[in-house]
Point group: C2
Chain length 316, copies 2
Amino acid sequence: MSLAEQVLEGNIRAAARLMRDIDDGRPQAIDELKALYPHSGKAYIVGITGPPGAGKSTLVDQLTAAFRAQGKRVGVVAIDPSSPFTGGAILGDRIRMNRHACDEGVFIRSLATRGSLGGLSRSTSDVALVMDTMGMDIVIIETVGVGQDEVDIVKTAHTTCVVMVPGMGDDIQAIKAGILEIGDIFVVNKADRDGSDRTARELSNMLEMRNATEGSWSPPVMKTVAQRGTGIPELVAEIDAHREFLFTSGCGTDFLRERNERHFMEILRDRLFKNALAYMESDGLLEQIVTGMGAHTLDPYSAAEEIMASIMPGRK
Amino acid sequence: MSLAEQVLEGNIRAAARLMRDIDDGRPQAIDELKALYPHSGKAYIVGITGPPGAGKSTLVDQLTAAFRAQGKRVGVVAIDPSSPFTGGAILGDRIRMNRHACDEGVFIRSLATRGSLGGLSRSTSDVALVMDTMGMDIVIIETVGVGQDEVDIVKTAHTTCVVMVPGMGDDIQAIKAGILEIGDIFVVNKADRDGSDRTARELSNMLEMRNATEGSWSPPVMKTVAQRGTGIPELVAEIDAHREFLFTSGCGTDFLRERNERHFMEILRDRLFKNALAYMESDGLLEQIVTGMGAHTLDPYSAAEEIMASIMPGRK
């Protein structure tokens, strides 16, 4: 039986193996993903993002418990910054989520932020696909960070929760503006701290300044204290409300189109580059180009044009 | 006279126009960059990165003043998260750096984190190239954030300073590990706060655990209070020491090779993808693929292979 067939039967070890193959970028994983694809699209994907120290992991832990209490199976994809010393995800199997360790209805997978640009976003989509097809009802994607990578990753999610925390310094203003567009729900966590009302109010004001189009979703601003479970049922209710909105408003169709396009683009981008790289390395071309750049006798723009002319004849 | 020629004469307006063209992805900017490339390589590039709220902007402001006092011309490339509402860099021309606004020896440029994956890293290299060739002695690249994007961006710098701040929550552990490899100098800013000694000690311990190879650079951990200028002369001295190390140890040669290779790769990756996209759009192929994915009759992996076969004949 192929790995894909085992995954479709809900085999956890097979799913874990396939995810490892994806993470390692092994070519045989592609065939398994091809076989799984027609069976995908059943899981509901929830993204959790926000700046460091916002308490995202605790929130994910609480959400997992809440969804489990509803009888749903929950997959968690946690994106960790990679360490060159441990050679992978340093948070490993998420020790803090230990309370779900013996629960067969919870599957947790960490992905490291190693590898090339865009690669992580693609791996996340692929791992979410495996979780979907192995029978998870909810897949939670958690990212640590606030950069473009994270923005691209959470775009995979049906509902994205942006987690903030009161009083995190000046840069937060900049970050807020950058992530306003991606949040379907805003969460001010650690809301028992000073300044939480102000942060929530500021967020609401910024959201109101947007020229929302008729019939679009108005992102709510929630307050939680994840450590004590405060505000979690309300957050789950808002996630359900957004889900309901997506599937009744027609916005869900647009979202799926965009998500599919992005997923395809990432795969294509990756493949194009790998092929070009293989071509350049086999001919010793890369070496020549880098040497020419070092001597300032060749510029990288002209070099790229020459490579293009060779591998994509007839296009410029 | 071409834009490139004007830039080489130190024309600030021409440089600003070329940077705008780069930021907008205008094709004519490429020809100017080609013309500038042989004249590049004179500026020393300093990267400043770290999590939100670490006080990086204040530090950059102080460093700029310190380099100016040495009679050096300073360019600053500040990477801001983009806002969909202001349509670009929300911090604009860095109002807080007002004190350098009338100084002809300081050129500040904000880049927004809009656009496609990898695009920002490429734009940063290109903008740094313009600042280099217009006669800046020092180019400071400041990034807000801690993701893979930021890591790639600071790899452009000769010397990378990672700025931390005492007590920023649990995620900091994860971040620290991820950025240990990219920091040449670690700065604990806001060192007048509680816990700064502990943060500095933890950082030193983590750095010591690395198996440093013989003759490699040992990153120092500095303490600063940028707001009051405390520790800035010492930081400048460490940057000078690292520069000296790069040019006497031979490590500088390896660094330049790697940087050139990365710069070329980013340009090539971008070009490959743009060409593939143009091909797919002109033939209505993208539409067909996304529709097929929506119906689950086509998977994105097979679709990418078909496109590859068409545009890169003879390669798979």
